[in-house]
């Protein structure tokens, strides 16, 4: 699709990542920012936009981030706590650059290990004051974390389509193979068997521990700019061909109209309506795996297989390194740790510009798709090599 300003990804970077860095959210944010600037070969003075997505209870300010980095003046900034995690930062930055509101935007997602569980526990926990707002219609029933709605999404898919725990396990096994090939970033170094998967404990049956992303302290940064400026930077640019958000009519993940057909379908339909590319043009995918069923829903939403067919799609080997759609080639967040979507933008960028090192796919990809979230809100984008 033709654009006033075609938006390029020109730099990617991570903070130190571990189960307990002992670092503040600000320090992690600064580390990732410096890594992305180094990758792009630019300095703070070259940046005129900062967009951060964070949890409300782990808020990271965009203006404070800019100040920390010595960025002199921001033409565009936004600090978000709503919606589809890292992709919200990405979408705001793309819109800012396409519209000419800013030229070079630093985008960030920073999270501490206890982010996903900590918030709910904190809200429900102490003070004796009780649960405010609409969470009083979920927490008294024992619904506290994503694992609870995730288990319910899986059950719905199994009941509607006859899918099995082995279907979800096949995805965990397939992406672990990529993780083993990414020893510097993955926390797990041995391949999985179906027995390993099925024997991993339930968190919320049918959801197993091995369906869950791995909680870590992390910050991820990507820098976007115009095509014109990208030409002067260190790395080969990777371009956004099209992108879209989508939401459901219901905000509560547990109460969406149809769990097997949630916001990824809205986002994917909108994205495909904005491009001449087709699913068969896509060479690699980075699909959000906060829980493995989410990536499975994205295969169906993006049209790589029919609805209800993600299990057989994965079992066919399509998502492996030599398959038609190598997926989550860094190992995914279940293995490299929770980056809330940013790792997929980073990994697909590395594959498309040819900086994935030993993990370079056997067939150099030209088009990649990335996605984030599920349920009430989601986003996806098509990336193309230069």
């Amino acid at each position: 699709m033709s654009k006033k300003n075609r938006v390029a990804i020109v730099g990617v970077g991570y903070s130190d990542v571990s189960r307990g860095t002992g670092y503040s959210l600000d320090k992690l944010t600064a580390q990732a920012s410096v890594a992305a600037m180094d990758d792009a070969g630019i300095k703070p003075v070259d940046i005129d936009g900062v967009v951060v997505h964070s949890f409300p209870h782990q808020f990271v300010s965009s203006t404070h981030t800019a100040a920390m980095l010595g960025i002199p003046d921001l033409a565009f900034y936004s600090g978000n706590v709503d919606g589809a995690a890292y992709s919200v930062a990405a979408m705001h930055a793309i819109a800012a650059i396409e519209s000419g509101s800013a030229e070079t935007v630093l985008t960030l997602r920073t999270v501490h290990k206890d982010g996903a569980a900590g918030g709910a526990a904190m809200l429900a926990g102490g003070g004796g004051k009780g649960i405010p707002g609409n969470m009083q219609f979920s927490m008294p029933y024992g619904s506290f974390t994503g694992s609870h709605w995730a288990g319910m999404y899986m059950t719905r898919h199994m009941a509607k389509y006859g899918s099995t725990e082995e279907d979800f396990g096949s995805f965990a096994i397939a992406q672990r193979k990529f993780a083993v090939a990414n020893p510097t970033e993955s926390f797990f170094h041995e391949e999985l068997t179906m027995e390993d998967y099925l024997n991993s404990r339930y968190i919320a049956k049918p959801l197993h521990l091995l369906d869950c992303d791995y909680p870590v302290d992390s910050s991820s940064a990507l820098i976007f700019t115009t095509e014109e400026r990208a030409r002067d930077m260190k790395q080969k640019p990777v371009f956004f061909d099209s992108w879209a958000n989508g939401t459901t009519k219901e905000a509560d993940f547990s109460l969406v109209g149809e769990m097997t057909h949630s916001s990824p379908f809205m986002a994917a339909d909108r994205m495909w309506s904005r491009t001449s590319l087709k699913p068969s043009d896509v060479d690699t995918a980075g699909l959000y795996d906060g829980f493995s069923f989410i990536a499975m829903q994205w295969f169906e939403a993006l049209g790589f297989c029919g609805e209800g067919e993600a299990g057989s799609f994965v079992r066919s080997g399509a998502t492996s390194a030599t398959g038609s759609l190598p997926t989550n080639t860094d190992g995914g967040a279940c293995n490299v740790g929770r980056r809330h979507g940013a790792n997929f933008f980073i990994e697909v960028t590395r594959q498309l510009r040819g900086t994935a090192g030993d993990r370079a796919l056997p067939k150099k990809p030209e088009v990649g798709v990335v996605s984030n979230a599920v349920g009430g809100f989601a986003a996806c984008a098509l990336l193309t090599a230069d």
Binding site: P132, G142, H148, G151, R156, R201, A204, L255
Partner: protein, 140 residues
């Protein structure tokens, strides 16, 4: 260890009080639009169907169908530690297509619950006078 762990109790507000008062009286009460009759859960300050701010509440049939469920086996709040495993579910109420609520399925072997099961409301004491609307299978 016999220390009683407090349950996660609601903090009722203007919108949510009818639900909790209804439950205390043995009724499942859902927000209802006085202008168009639309039922919505959770309650909001505005009717999403007709944008009326004139909202009331209605006792509903309390019958429905299991839309989906999971069986938590790990407690994310200490109150649930001695209640595992239990059935966390979404029930679609008979009173309006698509009207759903998060709930528990009780009085049942968790592994025997199926999507599509017919269920009816019952009320379990939560603590401090709060009653929690939960569902049990309708005996055939």
């Amino acid at each position: 260890m016999t220390t009683e762990v407090s349950p996660p109790l609601p903090l009722p507000n203007e919108l949510t009080t009818p639900f909790w008062d209804g439950a205390a009286n043995g009724q499942l009460v859902i927000q209802s639009c006085n202008a168009c009759g639309h039922l919505q859960h959770a309650p909001e300050p505005i009717c999403s169907a007709c944008l009326s701010f004139d909202l009331g509440s209605a006792a509903v049939s309390g019958k429905g169908t299991v839309y989906t469920f999971c069986i938590p086996t790990q407690a994310f709040h200490p109150y649930f530690a001695d209640k595992l495993p239990f059935v966390l579910a979404v029930v679609e109420l008979d009173d309006q297509p698509g009207l759903k609520m998060i709930t528990n399925i009780v009085d049942v072997d968790p592994d025997s619950v199926r999507v599509g099961d017919r269920v009816e409301v019952t009320f379990n004491p939560l603590g401090e006078g709060f009653m929690l609307p939960v569902f049990r299978p309708i005996s055939q």
